[in-house]
């Protein structure tokens, strides 16, 4: 069952690679939160109940409700255009995402380690690199933020792989999630929306050496 959920998680990455509209990105992020909720529920069966409840609440309330609602609100408030405007065509994005996933599977298969849950490793690493790829190839600042949130989801999956041995690390991952997301989203996007009318990275090149 965990495998099915994680593979669904992997498929959402392909879906983002070909998605055109900003709202689709937001919906996929919400879906990823829900998937993580079930993965946590099934995977972390050795940790204390209170801690488990905390982690579950974080995935469902923070990852799949609060952040997507806030992102949708920002999209509406700042009147951001609906298209994602990637630098590369969607077809190329799909190919590159596939290459990333295949490469991580090959890497995982070359590791001889009985302690490692390979599917967690593959999903986490490919999510990480796909997120970095999205950041590099999308034009809007808000898509960069979404790329960052995708990376965070990947890191969360990785922390679940060692979650039963070291629950502290999962809690730290949650702290990172909340801290970084609140810092990036809460304080900044509103301000950036007010100052830079069309939020585009090309506008962020005024800091120069001369």
């Amino acid at each position: 069952m965990i495998n099915v959920l994680l593979i669904t998680f992997l498929i959402t990455l392909f879906y983002i690679a070909i998605a055109n509209r900003m709202l689709t990105y937001v919906k996929v992020l919400a879906l990823q939160g829900v998937l993580l909720f079930f993965v946590v529920f099934l995977q972390l069966n050795e940790i204390s109940t209170l801690n488990l409840v905390l982690i579950l609440l974080e995935t469902i309330i923070f990852k799949s409700i609060a952040v997507p609602v806030f992102l949708a609100y920002i999209l509406k408030r700042n009147r951001i255009t609906r298209e994602a405007e990637p630098f590369l065509p969607n077809f190329v994005s799909l190919i590159i995402t596939t290459i990333i996933v295949v490469a991580t599977i090959l890497l995982a298969n070359s590791i001889q380690d009985t302690h490692l849950n390979k599917i967690f490793f593959v999903v986490a690493l490919s999510t990480l690199f796909t997120g970095l790829y999205f950041i590099a190839t999308r034009r809007k600042i808000i898509t960069h933020v979404m790329g960052y949130l995708i990376i965070e989801n990947g890191v969360f999956v990785l922390s679940l792989a060692v979650g039963n041995e070291m629950p502290m690390l999962v809690n730290l991952g949650i702290m990172l999630d909340i801290f970084a997301s609140v810092l990036i989203l809460g304080i900044f996007l509103n301000k950036i929306g007010d100052v830079f009318k069309n939020i585009d990275v090309n506008q962020l090149s005024n800091l120069k050496d001369y």
Partner: protein, 475 residues
């Protein structure tokens, strides 16, 4: 005491943030300095003991904590001058001082922590405080700088976390789950090398954002450009040291495994590239604040080269870190006076500084001599030892390349500084000249003199502290 210090310091920061009254604000920041010094003295008296399980007053921590407390005094003095001159609103003044207090506390706690996750948490907190400082001017450029800083730091923090996860995978092989540096060192021969390698790559890359090394150095440059002068001084001295602590403590562990040679290679490549990048930008840069920031990149590159070379290089690296904190912060403190006189950062429009502000020009000249590591600067000693370490490690080609790059840096740095000091500025109106009290430069002289003293005639205790910090490294 550690708990008391953290609670008191952060509550002072929160009160500063809420408070709008000028007198309460100024007295609170004074109180914070007293607290910081009281805690530092307490830490010195409780050398080698641990508190709260996660903090220990070890030699490296104490050494850098002392540096932090010394630099924080002029930082607060110059912040007061800066705020008074700028006539900021009560709100932005409160946020500024709260961020300064929070930043200093977080950096200090990060130095002292003996657990990699705790170091990581305080590194996160420094990002929060630093971003408030960078956004102090509330304009478009400051926003751009802050956004870049926050975004790159968020990614680098995530990288460190991934590194910690891989480290835990590596540690499971040793049958342990305690991620404190002490336990990692004790189990260093049982760690799984594959995961350790990945973990080192991620943690190293993550901390380079704070340390100012290739590949994540970019955010720091913009941050130091946009933050107010006294805040930039903290960012480019003590905050960089926090990145150094993060990498160094992990390096001590990996140096005790068979992976040491590989780690040296990684650090060496990053360090050499940093010096190269710094040279390229130093030759072209026309913004004096960014020039100082690039000079910091060069110095961290040298520090990490010392670490990679090993031997006497370890000693030199730690000496260099401490001395660089004094020298670079004094240059950034001086920058504010320069800006007050000329109202610009562009080197073309700055000139003949000796005529307008002789004391300040002296600081700039001495600061340049110190930062370029010419004798009698203390940095000369540490750089000389780093070169010696490279020579002993049979890295002659690297040594020659670095020396060539450093020559270019000194040429570019010197060209700009002498232009500022002696050549008349284009279109500068002398009638609007603002006279600056020589006393405002006093702290810079003290810092620069301290760097010379520590470099040329280091006290016995200072040498002992450095030697003890590098004790666990294989020679």
């Amino acid at each position: 005491m550690m708990l008391l210090y953290l609670i008191l310091a952060y509550s002072i920061a929160i009160v500063l943030f809420i408070n709008r009254n000028k007198i309460i604000n100024f007295s609170l920041i004074g109180l914070f300095l007293l607290l910081q010094w009281g805690f530092t003295i307490y830490a010195c008296f409780h050398f080698r003991s641990s508190e709260l399980d996660y903090f220990s007053f070890d030699s490296l921590g104490i050494l850098l904590l002392l540096t932090l407390s010394i630099v924080s005094v002029p930082a607060v003095i110059h912040s007061l001058i800066y705020i008074k001159d700028n006539k900021d609103s009560a709100q932005s003044r409160g946020i500024y001082f709260a961020a300064i207090a929070g930043l200093i506390t977080s950096i200090g706690a990060g130095y002292l922590s003996n657990h990699i996750a705790v170091t990581w948490i305080f590194t996160e907190l420094t990002t929060l405080c630093a971003s408030a400082l960078i956004y102090h001017h509330r304009n478009k450029l400051a926003l751009e700088g802050t956004w870049k800083y926050i975004f790159i730091c968020a990614i680098s923090i995530t990288f460190i976390f991934i590194g910690i996860l891989f480290l835990s995978l590596s540690l499971i092989h040793a049958g342990s789950s305690d991620l404190s540096f002490k336990n990692l060192l004790a189990n260093s021969d049982k760690l799984n090398p594959f995961w350790l390698r990945l973990s080192f790559l991620f943690i190293f890359t993550g901390f380079t954002a704070k340390l100012g090394l290739v590949p994540m150095y970019t955010a720091g440059i913009d941050a130091k450009d946009k933050a107010p002068g006294p805040a930039s001084a903290l960012l480019s001295s003590v905050l960089m040291n926090l990145g150094f602590v993060g990498i160094f403590r992990f390096y001590v562990i990996i140096a005790n495994t068979p992976l040491q040679h590989w780690a040296n290679l990684v650090i060496g490549i990053a360090a050499f590239l940093s010096i190269f990048v710094a040279t390229v930008y130093m030759v072209k840069v026309k913004n004096i604040k960014r020039m100082f920031a690039y000079s910091s990149i060069e110095h961290t590159g040298l520090v990490m080269l010392g670490i990679a070379a090993g031997g006497i290089g370890y000693y030199a690296a730690i000496l260099h870190v401490v001395l660089h904190a004094f020298v670079k912060s004094s240059l950034f403190f001086q920058y504010n006076q320069l800006y007050k006189v000329f109202q610009t950062k562009n080197i073309y429009q700055i000139g003949n500084y000796f005529k307008y502000n002789t004391t300040g020009a002296m600081v700039l000249l001495l600061g340049f001599i110190s930062a370029a590591a010419m004798p009698p600067s203390g940095l000369f000693v540490s750089e000389f030892l780093i070169f010696k370490a490279l020579f002993e490690a049979n890295q002659i080609i690297v040594l020659i390349a670095v020396l060539l790059l450093l020559t270019m840096i000194i040429w570019a740095f010197g060209k700009n500084i002498f232009k500022i000091l002696f050549i008349p500025a284009v279109g500068f109106d002398e009638k609007t000249l603002i006279v600056i009290s020589p006393w405002e430069s006093a702290t810079q002289f003290v810092l620069l003199a301290g760097a010379v003293y520590l470099g040329l005639n280091p006290p016995v205790q200072f040498v002992q502290l450095i030697n003890e910090s590098i004790m666990q490294l294989p020679i």
